[in-house]
């Protein structure tokens, strides 16, 4: 048993009191003196050449203070990958999807700004749109980006072992194609920001970003502004799920409009804009071929995957890489072949979205695993146990697994669900399905960096401060990180003052994504806390005249072991340290791991440089109504190996929320496109799960201890929805014998498949 006083405790979210009282200020809630309201003009057509933009009528409208277009920008393209940059804040020559940004307006109120947009005259020459990724790969179709000689953004192959020999050695081979659809992040808060530029062209941007430090850097690059002129402050953030990582045109627009008018400018996306013109999960097509033995051993697996990029790259190139890594890393398979193609289409474009390519890969692989179990008449859990990864394994694609609780997650859901008994006494139209997954437990250096910084100080009054660049978007880092510091400093986390995310007052952190904050920022905080502790204890040792080895920290005092009378409080140590010795008590920490292996391939992500891998198994119990195809979720079990769990209350919340986001992707959330236009950009027709729709959900924390994580912890947030959809679809197969290989499993689809059986 671990002997921790803070780690592993169900400590309530630090921000929750501010949030339940309405006091928490989000970006959209802010109002600065003299503030103007901005709006963005977006393309109404999917593909067109821009012949001219006339803003004169809009400028004449009373109340309009400024209009900006591409002419106000240095025309520097950006994306997550500088070498694959393809997006301008305001397009100059072409628009490439319905929603593409053309101009922005600042006015005295929103109604005037909206009216001004209608007065901007954009002269367009409409071009043929390409909406299907397979179609878009053909030679004779319309070209979306003129600087490329095809609509293919990225293509790579990866071969490990000998795939042909693997197939030759197999007793069976199954081939199947799987498709997955787009998903909206649907954070309840839309994108919002305010820029305030002073006379020296310095500005502050309050934005609901998941990655304030990189945002500062990207604004600096896209607008050719020196970084020292920029300060980014995220207020409370109403969820992100990957949608709030990128530099967005609303950021650029606010900065430019504030610079032009000398007044603060606020832009808030409407829900429709949020659906139509912020990122989504990449749709995918994945052809799989698996070779396996009579006993269930997978000998060879091959994937040919196409991701529908939409109009621009955003995170697409690395989502494609992650699709490969997560597909190839799950299960110990010696022969792997993967071919990935990322294709532009004239649609809203994909970005980072909870799971980052992994849900698409895992849906295909885990449905295939179920088909294999079915073919061999083998228990699906036994099949997975047979091929499961193990601790300290190096996979065929050269991923170094440190801790691994995959087997334990399989056993945990089997037990919790009463699998064996329920399988034996199967009820009509009821079914059980299982699916496993792996994902990074701490970001990676795939893009070159994986940094997080933290500083701690004790001020002259003995108050402890933690400043960290990490950003809480609801996942709980504002609670977790002080817990890590508090454990090390022998104090209660609520006594630590916390400053986060502000780019002026915190060390850089790459941001909240990739399930990286607990591990990366946690390691930085842990280092900072140890460094501060060292200084506190050294000062106390001098004051008490005792060797450091005999001292320990308890309740904000340093005391001598077994001598309760000999102690000195933090405030006394601070007073002596600052006023008598002029010694500043600070500690800093910076994490940017792991080392990148020499054979790392930045295209395919072979030898993926992640610090740890997290694992999980989901198990769904469903009941299908054969009369209408309706799928009712009855029970859901989700066992996760996230290393040592810092705060089980918050970890459970991640698992439950992830599962329900997965339910939506599996069953109800579906974009309807018509020639690139999203027909259902609202919560009425794009169906999130409501509280009414959820089954009993049982989160299970299977603890391991990872050598690379703080106190053994690994990440969880992105993992939480990855294997949900295949677990449900495998359960539908178990219930009614229909195998759905294209998401989502709508009632209509299930009904038609039952009828055509």
């Amino acid at each position: 048993m671990d002997n921790y006083s803070v780690i592993g405790k169900r400590i309530k979210s630090r921000d929750s009191v501010a949030k339940v009282t309405g006091k928490a200020v989000f970006a959209g809630d802010m109002k600065l003196k003299g503030m103007l309201y901005g709006k963005v003009l977006r393309s109404e057509v999917a593909h067109a050449r821009i012949l001219g933009i006339d803003i004169s009528k809009a400028m004449e409208l009373k109340g309009v203070k400024a209009v900006v277009t591409c002419e106000d920008t240095p025309l520097i393209k950006y994306s997550i990958h500088p070498l694959m940059a393809d997006k301008l804040a305001f397009e100059d020559k072409k628009v490439r999807y319905i929603g593409d940004e053309i101009a922005a307006v600042a006015a005295v109120d929103e109604a005037t700004a909206a009216k001004a947009l209608s007065l901007i005259k954009v002269d367009l020459e409409e071009l043929e749109g390409v909406f299907d990724p397979v179609e878009a790969m053909k030679e004779d179709v319309s070209r979306i980006h003129d600087h490329l000689d095809s609509n293919i953004s990225k293509h790579f192959k990866m071969d490990c072992g000998d795939i042909e020999q693997g197939f030759a050695d197999s007793d069976y081979i199954i081939e199947k194609t799987f498709t997955t659809h787009a998903q909206s992040h649907s954070s309840i808060e839309t994108h919002a920001c305010i820029a305030d530029c002073d006379s020296d062209s310095r500005f502050t941007l309050w934005a609901n970003t998941q990655a304030p430090h990189p945002l500062k850097q990207r604004i600096s690059q896209a607008l050719a502004i020196k970084p020292e002129k920029i300060r980014v402050i995220p207020p409370y953030i109403g969820g992100g799920f990957g949608s709030k990582i990128d530099l967005d045109t609303t950021h650029v627009a606010c900065v430019l409009l504030s610079k032009k008018t000398g007044r603060p400018v606020k832009i808030i996306n409407t829900r429709e804009e949020q659906f139509a013109a912020t990122r989504m999960r990449h749709p995918s097509i994945c052809e799989l071929k698996f070779g396996f033995k009579n006993d269930g051993t997978i000998v060879a697996k091959q994937a040919k995957a196409i991701l529908d990029n939409g109009a621009y790259n955003s995170h697409g190139p690395s989502v494609m890489g992650y699709h490969n890594v997560m597909f190839s890393t799950l299960y110990t398979v010696p022969n792997i072949s993967y071919e990935g193609t990322l294709v532009y289409t004239n649609k809203n474009y994909g970005g980072a979205c909870r799971g980052y390519g992994d849900p698409q890969a895992t849906f295909a692989q885990e449905t295939m695993m179920d088909m294999i179990a079915d073919k061999l008449d083998m228990d699906p859990i036994e099949l997975r146990l047979k091929n499961a990864n193990h601790p300290d394994e190096k996979t065929a694609n050269a991923v170094e697994i440190t801790s691994c609780g995959l087997i334990e997650t399989l056993e945990a859901v089997k037990k919790a669900s009463n699998w064996t008994q329920k399988k034996k006494a199967k009820k009509k139209y009821r079914g059980l399905g299982v699916a496993s997954m792996t994902y990074t437990g701490g970001g990676s250096r795939g893009s070159g960096f994986n940094y997080s910084g933290a500083t701690m100080k004790m001020d002259p009054l003995g108050t402890i401060f933690l400043n960290t660049g990490a950003t809480d978007i609801g996942q709980g880092s504002n609670t977790i990180l002080p817990m890590i510091a508090a454990e090390i400093l022998g104090m209660e986390p609520e006594h630590i003052r916390l400053v986060t995310s502000d780019t002026d007052t915190t060390l850089p952190c790459m941001g909240t994504f990739g399930s990286r904050v607990t591990l990366c920022a946690g390691n930085a905080v842990s280092q900072a806390a140890f460094n501060l502790k060292k200084k506190i204890v050294a000062r106390a040792a001098k004051i008490l005249g005792e060797p450091v080895e005999r001292l320990e920290i308890k309740a904000r005092s340093v005391c001598v072991a077994k001598e309760p009378d000999k102690e000195i409080s933090f405030s006394q140590i601070a007073a002596v340290s600052y006023s008598q010795k002029q010694e500043v008590l600070t500690g800093a920490g910076y994490y940017d791991g792991p080392e990148v292996a020499k054979d790392f391939d930045p295209k395919s992500y072979y030898a993926y440089p992640g610090p740890a891998m997290s694992f999980a198994t989901h198990l769904a119990e469903v009941e299908v109504d054969p009369e209408n195809g309706r799928v009712d979720l009855i029970n859901f079990y989700a066992a996760h190996d996230s290393g040592k769990v810092i705060n089980p209350l918050l970890a459970e919340g991640q698992i439950e929320g992830g599962a329900v986001m997965g339910f939506g992707w599996a069953l109800t959330e579906e974009f309807k496109f018509d020639n690139g236009r999203i027909l259902n950009p609202n919560f009425h027709d794009y169906k999130l799960f409501s509280i009414k729709d959820i089954p009993d959900i049982t989160p299970i924390l299977v603890e391991t201890c990872d050598p690379n994580g703080p106190f053994g912890a690994k990440g969880l947030g992105e993992c939480a929805m990855v294997s949900t959809a295949p677990a449900i679809l495998n359960a539908i197969y178990d219930a009614v014998g229909v195998r759905i290989c294209d998401l989502p499993a709508t009632s209509e689809k299930v009904f038609n498949l039952i009828k055509s059986k």
């Binding site: 979210s13 009282t21 109002k31 992040h185 609801g474 919340g653 329900v660 919560f683 959820i694």
Partner: protein, 159 residues
């Protein structure tokens, strides 16, 4: 210049008389005219429940009501739920149950839960699910929100 109309309301126990543009929704009125930004805008079309407030003892989506319609009404927003320094039992239950993640849907959830428990002190789980079905949350998966409602029920019952 569009003609403005007087609106007299009592919000969280305080009386206000404000001239408003007739196009202003109750949500905009609360947020922009009264600076009560605890009530959130998630969709502005009545689908998400983030803008829920209690209007004359009934929960409503404030984005679907015009400010001029609420003349002489009594309104409670999230800012009025806490009494003095103490959290209301519903707020305390949300905090203690881990029912708050990003917090954007939270004011609407808390207000709706409070109204529900005032209408029916002992709802069944199915009744709770029906009552809260109009409040979307993307973070929590609703599990801990259901826990919070149970906890709040008990807290209120025990006084």
């Amino acid at each position: 210049m569009i003609k403005k109309y007087p609106v007299r309301v009592n919000v969280n126990g305080d009386d206000y008389e404000v001239l408003v543009d007739p196009r202003t929704t109750l949500l905009q009125f609360l947020r922009e005219n009264l600076d009560l930004t605890g009530t959130k805008e998630g969709c502005d079309e009545g689908d998400c429940g983030a803008c829920s407030v209690i209007l004359n003892n009934k929960v409503v989506s404030s984005c679907l009501i015009l400010a001029v319609e609420v003349d002489n009404a009594v309104i409670e927003t999230i800012e009025g739920v806490k009494k003095g320094a103490e959290l209301h039992p519903v707020q305390q239950a949300f905090v203690d149950s881990g029912a708050v993640q990003c917090g954007f849907c939270t004011p609407g959830m808390v207000i709706t839960t409070k109204a529900m428990l005032e209408e029916m002190p002992n709802p069944s789980t199915q009744e709770v699910k029906e009552y809260l079905a109009g409040n979307l949350c993307r973070c929590t998966g609703y599990v801990k929100i259901l826990d919070a409602v149970e906890y709040a029920k008990e807290n209120l019952r025990n006084g």
